[in-house]
């Protein structure tokens, strides 16, 4: 299980990296943490002629709060996302989700940009990015653009990324201090890709009723899905077990998962129902009352 041959490039700056990608186009593949690409290369499921290593681009490893928007560099490792105090405070949903990615050693290497570009349908970070309405910042030698996360992730392992582009950053709207959020997933073993994952945020009005709710589901289709119907249904409801059950049923009814011999559609629906309810109740407990 050894990779096919490739030529290795180690750009020292973003500009140099983008020039290399512009030059080699589809023959090149950028690598950062390598925790998803590495196995694909070793199994020869990916065989780029040129490997462009982004690991020296330390200018892409950062967390920056720019007035209500938390911008995180594409090369920021999962372990930092999971454990940086400012992310825990300003983006608790992201921190909670990042802590569940793979295993400890995997999180030391894997990066935010890499996870988004890989776009596994069950991955944590695309789901959180979609749920929170993040913007993915892409750059090529020609310039920079930003794409809403739900448009960036197009299909199974397919994203809106040209051959000469890299993800330089992701801009997350800062979670509000009174917002409750919760991430949950179900996998056969600890650390495996989820069968189903749920990301949920909610806010309560002064009367204690829900005034805003976001619900994203992973593992139920080719890409993470916001459940806007369920979100609207929640408005004005009390954050109690009854609402949890109702919204969870609605979420389960809203999806059309694939029927797979090992994971029947009915089972995925049941997981969505359970995990949604559990995440809802946890988020509700964490929500403060709006002043």
């Amino acid at each position: 299980m050894k990779p096919a041959p490739f030529t290795y490039h180690r750009p020292a700056s973003v500009r140099e990296a983008l020039e290399l990608l512009a030059r080699y186009g589809a023959d090149a593949k950028p690598v950062s943490g390598g925790q998803s690409l590495g196995p694909m290369l070793n199994m020869r499921l990916a065989r780029p002629a040129h490997l462009v290593d982004l690991n020296d681009l330390l200018e892409l490893d950062y967390v920056r709060n720019t007035g209500g928007v938390i911008e995180i560099g594409g090369l920021t490792r999962h372990h930092r996302v999971a454990s940086a105090p400012e992310i825990g405070r300003d983006l608790p949903l992201l921190a909670e989700a990042a802590a569940t990615i793979g295993h400890y050693a995997i999180r030391q290497r894997g990066t935010l940009g890499g996870s988004l570009v890989h776009a596994d349908p069950a991955a944590q970070l695309p789901l959180v990015a979609v749920t929170l309405g993040a913007e993915v910042v892409l750059r090529s030698a020609k310039g920079e653009r930003s794409v809403p996360a739900d448009e960036f992730v197009q299909s199974i392992m397919t994203v809106d990324l040209a051959d000469d582009e890299i993800v330089t950053a992701v801009r997350f709207p800062q979670q509000l201090a009174d917002e409750g959020s919760a991430f949950d997933l179900f996998s056969r073993r600890h650390g495996d890709f989820a069968i189903v994952s749920v990301a949920l945020t909610l806010r309560l009005d002064p009367a204690g009723a829900i005034c805003a709710l976001r619900l994203g589901l992973g593992g139920v289709g080719p890409v993470p899905q916001r459940q806007t119907g369920v979100e609207q249904e929640a408005i004005g409801c009390l954050p109690d077990a009854e609402t949890a059950a109702r919204l969870a049923r609605a979420a389960a009814a809203a999806i059309t998962p694939e029927d797979h011999p090992q994971v029947p559609a009915a089972y995925r629906r049941e997981l969505v129902e359970t995990l949604t309810a559990r995440a809802f109740l946890r988020a509700a407990k964490r929500a403060g009352v709006t002043a």
Binding site: F186, A266, Y267
Partner: protein, 819 residues
């Protein structure tokens, strides 16, 4: 360990000698053995489950720089003899296979060609360039398809796919049915597993053209049988082959047979006159090394109203895969033979079918008879359920009692010095069944699913030569050892078993130390090198302690006799009466006390080697003693596993709340090592019962070729295990050793099924199929209805010490904390 034993060194929990090298990265596993100029190979494997090989075009691969050659089944057939398995066993078809397939491939992963190159990267580049034209054939992916009339033949030389079929009857189980209050039928489906040693297979073959000699470096559990096989298949004598097994990164039964890839590599080394090496990659290991289990059983128990079993019938079907590296009845036979285990059943019949399919061939995997205890205990639980009886009482009423011993099972197997009723009572007491039942009743009222399982295991161990003779299997169960005291008094010893990670070096040194009268640190036990070790039968079937340790112990005792005879001469005594060797010093019994004589083992050794004319008359020079020993046909250990689970009704996840094992494996050489084996076996059994599964689709494609798909349990899924050790010596073996290390698999599979089904009882459904995946749990619940679940939003968590959510480690519920 505070148990009183008559031993000085046997039974001491000494930490292992081999640890230091493993902990510091200084172990020597196969890939750490380097021979300059070694060539590397990569195998080309079939993408089809069943296909004719129309043509193989190797031109492009050969043209790649760095490639020395590409070879196919036809080449290998010129260099090696096929494997023919034709033991005289009634109902078993003889089979034969070439070293690599020539006409057709029989499973997804079958090797069809081999590339030889200067390095592994290039070998893999070239393997991609080998073009094989296949004509796909219809395949049989399960036993039902394989046994259907007109089914495609997996092996074209056989009349059908039923490669082995045996029946047996003792007493009259059909008549017992007529007398019974009820005939309880139960079904058990144990899925396909694979061994997953952390170190995959591999070998380094080194042909010495000048001496016409093959040295095969290979992690093998059975070096001498491996040498015999290699010599026979390559047309060499056993003087021309040396097998050297370095440290082994786990075997679990996968490293016994001489596989086709290994023989190919040996033949290539001879062909090129250069060392050739192969390291199996993990994809190959999961798809093409060896699989195991996939056993389907149906039992019919004829029972009295009080649960007493009058007669028992077993129908067993095993899906054996495409190739036989072992006689096809090998594993299934043991299941049928010991099924009744700890219970007094005399009217018993079995019908055992072994079927070829287009999957990777089966072999023994730690507990070849893994399903046995699940089948027996599951039958008992089914009896209890159908008759509304207490499952503990049904066990008690049927159990072999102390007064029944020695007890002859209906198949003729004799149980001696076993304590199944005692382990049952110990486990029942430890887990506190009445307290659990109270908790369970309350939990059920709240809509929660708690369950308790019990599983008593009678584990066949050791397998003496009489077993092989009776089974008709070529081979033997005896073992051989030598003990050499060198001129300095240092002690070397050797035996034919070969550990694959269990930690033989320390317990076997303890056996030698005990028998000889030295300390274990003075003893070095050499294993795995066929020019050094005596011809032994290797490690399998939990024979390391009884056969390996027992033989060394007896051999060391024999050496001690000679040492003391020489010492007697040095002390001017007529004979060795009243002398003993203790910690390397000769002592003499005077006035009821052992007293120093001032003569040490080193003094004796010096005389034996360097001053032989001073030896007593009739004593030959040197201190070099060897011995062979044939243990009883079978020895038995026994245990009872008890386990408490909770099933999350919402997700189907099974959490293990508590796990207890009461185990009696006789005299143990080293309780630390034994405990490690007990924990490891339970862990492996649970991993298999709950997570692992080799999955083939209907076209015979293996869907579990990576460790992300074949799910070996991690530290978050396995429980802590409480062990209640018991030690009833076997009176027929040296030092009373019984052997162990496979029973934990049998017990854990049985007990988890029992616990899950107890939890599911209020729903009126029973899990009959493994693995006990959450999907399967939910499917059963979905089909049941009629149970008011508690609020499904409180997550009962996974296994007790696990985190309640993945994101926030640290929420241990405290039960399993070891503070």
């Amino acid at each position: 360990m505070t148990t009183e034993t008559p031993f000085t060194h046997i039974g001491k929990p000494l930490p292992r000698k081999e640890d230091r090298r493993f902990l510091t990265g200084k172990g020597r596993y196969l890939d750490d053995v380097v021979l300059p100029g070694a060539l590397q190979v990569s195998f080309v494997r079939a993408p089809h489950a069943h296909a004719r090989i129309a043509a193989i075009d190797t031109e492009a691969a050969r043209a790649l720089p760095g490639v020395l050659g590409v070879f196919t089944g036809r080449d290998l057939a010129q260099w090696t003899a096929p494997l023919r398995l034709a033991p005289p066993i009634e109902g078993l078809h003889p089979v034969e296979m070439t070293t690599l397939p020539i006409d057709k491939v029989r499973f997804h992963g079958d090797p069809v060609a081999v590339v030889v190159a200067r390095d592994r990267y290039v070998a893999e580049d070239a393997a991609e360039l080998v073009e094989v034209s296949y004509e796909p054939l219809p395949c049989v992916a399960d036993t039902a398809a394989a046994l259907a009339p007109g089914a495609p033949l997996v092996d074209d030389t056989l009349p059908d796919n039923l490669v082995s079929h045996q029946s047996f009857r003792a007493g009259d189980p059909v008549a017992r049915r007529a007398e019974a209050a009820r005939v309880v039928e139960a079904r058990f489906d144990l899925h396909r597993h694979t061994h997953v040693p952390m170190e995959t297979r591999g070998c380094l073959a080194d042909w010495d053209a000048g001496r016409s000699h093959l040295t095969m470096h290979i992690g093998t559990q059975a070096p001498h049988p491996m040498r015999s096989q290699l010599a026979a298949r390559m047309g060499l004598t056993e003087t021309q082959v040396t097998v050297i097994s370095p440290d082994i990164g786990g075997g679990f039964g996968q490293k016994i047979a001489l596989y086709r890839e290994e023989l190919t590599v040996a033949a290539l080394s001879r062909h090129f006159g250069r060392p050739v090496r192969w390291r199996e990659d993990r994809l190959e290991n999961l798809t093409s090394a060896s699989h195991a289990r996939e056993t389907h059983c149906v039992t019919r128990a004829a029972v009295r109203a009080d649960g007493r079993i009058l007669g028992l019938e077993l129908d067993l079907t095993e899906d054996f895969g495409a190739y036989c590296f072992y006689p096809a009845n090998y594993m299934a036979r043991v299941i049928a033979m010991i099924l009744t285990g700890p219970y007094r059943i005399s009217d018993y019949a079995f019908d055992v079918k072994v079927v070829l399919t287009n999957k990777c061939g089966n072999g023994p995997m730690r507990a070849p008879m893994a399903i046995t205890s699940w089948v027996m205990e599951g039958t008992i639980d089914a009896v209890a359920r159908e008759l509304g009886l207490d499952p503990v009482e049904v066990r008690r009423i049927n159990a072999v009692r102390p007064a029944d011993l020695p007890f002859t099972m209906p198949t003729g197997e004799v149980l001696e010095d076993v304590t199944p009723l005692e382990t049952l009572e110990a486990a029942v007491a430890a887990i506190d069944v009445p307290a659990f039942r109270a908790r369970q009743a309350q939990a059920r009222a709240e809509g929660r699913l708690l369950g308790l399982g019990l599983c008593t295991v009678v584990e066949s161990t050791t397998y003496g030569s009489e077993f092989y003779k009776a089974a008709g299997i070529p081979g033997s169960g005896h073992e051989a050892a030598w003990v050499r005291i060198e001129p300095s008094g240092a002690v070397n010893a050797s035996v034919g078993v070969m550990g694959s990670g269990q930690g033989y070096e320390t317990p076997l040194a303890q056996a030698v130390a005990e028998g000889l009268g030295v300390t274990p640190d003075m003893v070095n036990v050499h294993m795995g090198h066929t020019d050094i070790a005596p011809y032994g039968m290797g490690s399998r079937g939990a024979r390391g302690a009884t056969a390996g340790g027992g033989t060394l112990y007896l051999c060391a005792q024999k050496a001690a006799e000679k040492v003391l005879a020489i010492a007697a001469g040095m002390l001017n005594l007529n004979d060795a009466q009243g002398l003993r060797l203790q910690d390397g010093q000769v002592e003499r019994r005077l006035e009821d006390a052992w007293q120093a004589t001032g003569v040490s083992l080193a003094d004796v050794a010096r005389r034996a080697y360097l001053d032989p004319t001073a030896l007593p008359e009739g004593i030959a020079p040197g201190l070099d003693v060897s011995l062979t020993y044939d243990p009883p046909a079978m020895t038995y250990s026994n245990s009872t596993h008890a386990c408490e689970v909770e099933i999350d009704p919402a997700t189907g996840r099974i959490a293990i709340a508590r796990y207890v094992v009461a185990e009696d494996c006789g005299t143990v050489l080293n309780p630390l090592v034994v405990k490690g084996q007990q924990q490891g076996a339970v862990g492996m059994g649970l991993s298999g019962a709950l997570f692992e599964e080799v999955i083939y689709d209907e076209s015979g494609q293996n869907l579990t070729a990576t460790l992300a798909d074949y799910l070996v349990a991690t530290a978050c899924e396995l429980p802590n295990i409480e062990i209640l050790p018991m030690h009833t010596p076997n009176r027929k073996t040296p030092a009373g050793i019984k052997g162990m290390a496979e029973g934990g698999i049998m017990g854990s599979i049985g007990v988890i099924a029992g616990a899950v089904n107890d939890a599911l009882a209020p729903l009126g459904v029973t899990a009959e199929q493994m693995p006990l995946s959450p999907q399967r749990m939910r499917a059963l619940m979905r089909g049941a209805g009629n149970f008011t679940y508690g609020t499904s939003f409180s997550d009962p968590g996974t296994t007790a010490h696990d985190t309640t959510t993945h994101g926030t480690p640290g929420n241990s519920d405290g039960r399993t904390g070891r503070a």
